[in-house]
Structures are given as C-alpha cells and as structure tokens.
C-alpha cells in the first residue's frame, strides 16, 4: 500500500483525530492526536507497514505542549516510509504505548522514557534502559545541563557534573586548518549565526 492510500485509510477511520498531512521532498508526515496512535498503528500494520523503524520524542522547551512524539513506519511491499507525529504536554507526559502492536516498541519506549521522561500507558515493563534505575534525571531534556548533574544511588552508581572548562567546543569552517580546531564559541555569536 502506498503512503497516499494509507493516509486515506487513516483519515477515513480516525476522522478529525488526524490533524493534518504534510508533504516534503517526497516524505509524508501525518499529524495525529496521540490518543489515537495505537489505533493508527494497528491500521498501519494491517495495511502493510509491518516495521516500526523508529520512535522518538522531541523536547520543544519553552513551548506548550512541550513534547512531540515521532513514529516512523516502513512498508516492505511499497518500500515507503510514513511518519506520524503528535504533541503531548506536561512535566510527566503520558502517551499510549505501541508495545502491544509492535514488539520493538517495548525497548524504544523504554529509551524514550529513560532519556526524556515520556511515560507510556499500557507498557508492560516501563523501566530505564540506558541509565540505572535510581537515576533521578531525564538527561536529554533541554533543561538538563550538558555537563550533567550530581546524583548518588547508594552503591549502585553515582554521577558528577563534568568540567566544561569554557566548552562546549565547536568547529568553525575556515581556510586555515588551525582556525578549524574546536574552540569555545561565544553564545551570542552562535545565536546570531543561527538566525
């Protein structure tokens, strides 16, 4: 089934919970209300999108709703990727789990929980997967400092902030190789360039 057909079917079944469809350079993105994500996943799996390639949250810090979930599905017969995404807010965002539909979602959702603190309702085993169980932070959130934070979990593990010494260090394009070396970049200059 092609992406266009799949989008049609999603629209027919989920109606207004499909918030929009974007096309960019041949990639299809379906914006969806996350309460319908499990239903959508079941439909897609039946429609030939048998692989959940990737599942990841994004932290849009400063915006509300703050988090955005992104799912990539792949259909082997048409060779097409389909992207679903939807926003979720709050300090402890809660999203329906896909682990009952796609087995691979189990560990991917554990990673999303571990790094970003997104919780998944209906997940059979929502534990941290990379950091140790007692780690108190969600390190990939935008308000988590790059150098980390101190924590102690008895005899299990500990962490300390890393010395940044003027970093993070960035490379800049330059003719002379010496000027391409990584060096501390004034934050103002960085922002100007990204405007």
């Amino acid at each position: 089934m092609t992406n266009a057909e799949a989008v049609e079917r999603l629209r027919a079944e989920l109606g207004a919970r499909i918030q929009g469809v974007d096309e960019f350079r041949g990639e299809t993105t379906v914006r969806i209300e996350l309460s319908a994500i499990e239903e959508a996943a079941k439909l897609l799996k039946k429609a030939g999108y048998r692989t959940l390639v990737d599942l990841t949250p994004i932290d849009h810090w400063g915006e509300e709703p703050r988090f955005e979930m992104i799912y990539h599905f792949f259909a082997l017969d048409s060779g097409m990727f389909l992207r679903l995404k939807g926003r979720v807010g709050g300090e402890e965002p809660l999203v329906p789990s896909l682990s009952a539909v796609y087995g691979t979602a189990n560990w991917q959702e554990r990673e999303a929980f571990d790094m970003m603190g997104v919780r998944f309702s209906g997940h059979p085993d929502l534990r941290r997967i990379l950091m140790w169980e007692e780690y108190p932070f969600f390190p990939l959130r935008k308000d988590f400092p790059l150098e980390g934070q101190a924590s102690d979990a008895g005899g299990v593990a500990f962490s300390r902030p890393a010395p940044m010494d003027g970093g993070p260090f960035v490379t800049q394009p330059a003719e002379e190789s010496g000027r391409r070396e990584p060096r501390a970049h004034p934050a103002d200059g960085l922002q100007e360039e990204n405007l």
Partner: protein, 169 residues
C-alpha cells in the same frame, strides 16, 4: 626510566650461584610475569587485543597471559570509556584482584573522560582507582601500550617488595 642492574645468567660464572637482594629477585619475577586483566570497555580494547597478538606480541615482556578473572590478574588495563553505570563494576573487579596490583589507564577516555564531557561518563578512572600509568591516544597504538607496559615494569622494579610483604604480614 630508572637504570637497574639486570639480573641475568652470567656465562663467566658457569655455576648455580647468583648473588642478589630479595627485593630485586621478587621484583624481577613480578615484572616479567605480569598477568593483565583486560578491562576492555570501548575501542581501546581493540588496540589492546592487537598488542597481545603476534605482530606486537606482549609475550616478549611476559605479559601475554590475559586473565578474564580478576582473581588471577595483577595488572588492570582500563581500556575505554568508563560510564557511570559501569564505574562501580570496574571498582568491584579491581577490588577482587589480589595484591600487589597495578592499573593502566589506556587512552583518553580512561584517563580523563576523553571527548565525552557528558552526563554519562566518568571523567577519568583515577577518580575511583589508583592509576599507575596513563597512556595517551584515542585510541593509543599498540606500541604506546607496550611503552606503558614497560613503564609499569620499571615501576615494579623500583618497589620495596620485601618491606611491603612485611607490612602485610
């Protein structure tokens, strides 16, 4: 490197008598039969494996007996990135090694955290273990590891082995 008088078979004596001190005899035995514990945690471990293979051959220095049990090893080679999750495991393994024991921090990560100025990486294994020799490089070439091994040997050679033994007893 400290200059030492090498103890070796002297063909002029042609007998069974060697005169030496207990210290240098013990040290000579220790330094030429280092049993390394390969604490391989990242890409440095690949260079460590290369160092133990035929081309670089640390068997020339008596250190070819890689032991994967800490209880049979006396040199821990921390080769690679030590994450905070792994840090206490490395320490526990080190604690299980019998005395006397030595530690090599192999490569930038084990020495200082390397390029990982990050929430997840211990900024140098010397924050948990007493490191004897640091080897620079990312990863170091096997020659650099062999050099580190020779420095450990030189260090062992200078130790007051007998006094240490008495202290323990």
């Amino acid at each position: 490197m400290r200059q030492t008088q090498e103890l070796s078979y002297n063909s002029k004596i042609e007998g069974d008598v060697v005169l030496t001190t207990v210290d240098s005899a013990i040290n000579w035995m220790r330094k030429n039969s280092i049993w390394p514990m390969p604490m391989g945690l990242a890409c440095c471990a690949i260079e460590l494996m290369a160092a133990s293979c035929a081309r670089f051959d640390i068997a020339r220095f008596g250190a070819e007996v890689m032991r994967f049990s800490p209880r049979q090893a006396d040199l821990m080679v921390v080769a690679g990135t030590v994450t905070y999750k792994m840090a206490y495991a490395v320490k526990r393994i080190y604690d299980q090694m019998p005395e006397p024991k030595w530690v090599i921090a192999m490569g930038a990560c084990a020495s200082s955290g390397g390029m990982y100025r990050s929430y997840a990486v211990l900024q140098g294994i010397d924050r948990l273990l007493p490191v004897d020799v640091y080897i620079s490089g990312c990863p170091p070439r096997p020659e650099a590891f062999v050099d580190g091994l020779l420095r450990i040997q030189a260090k062992i050679d200078g130790e007051p082995a007998l006094r240490r033994l008495k202290q323990v007893a």
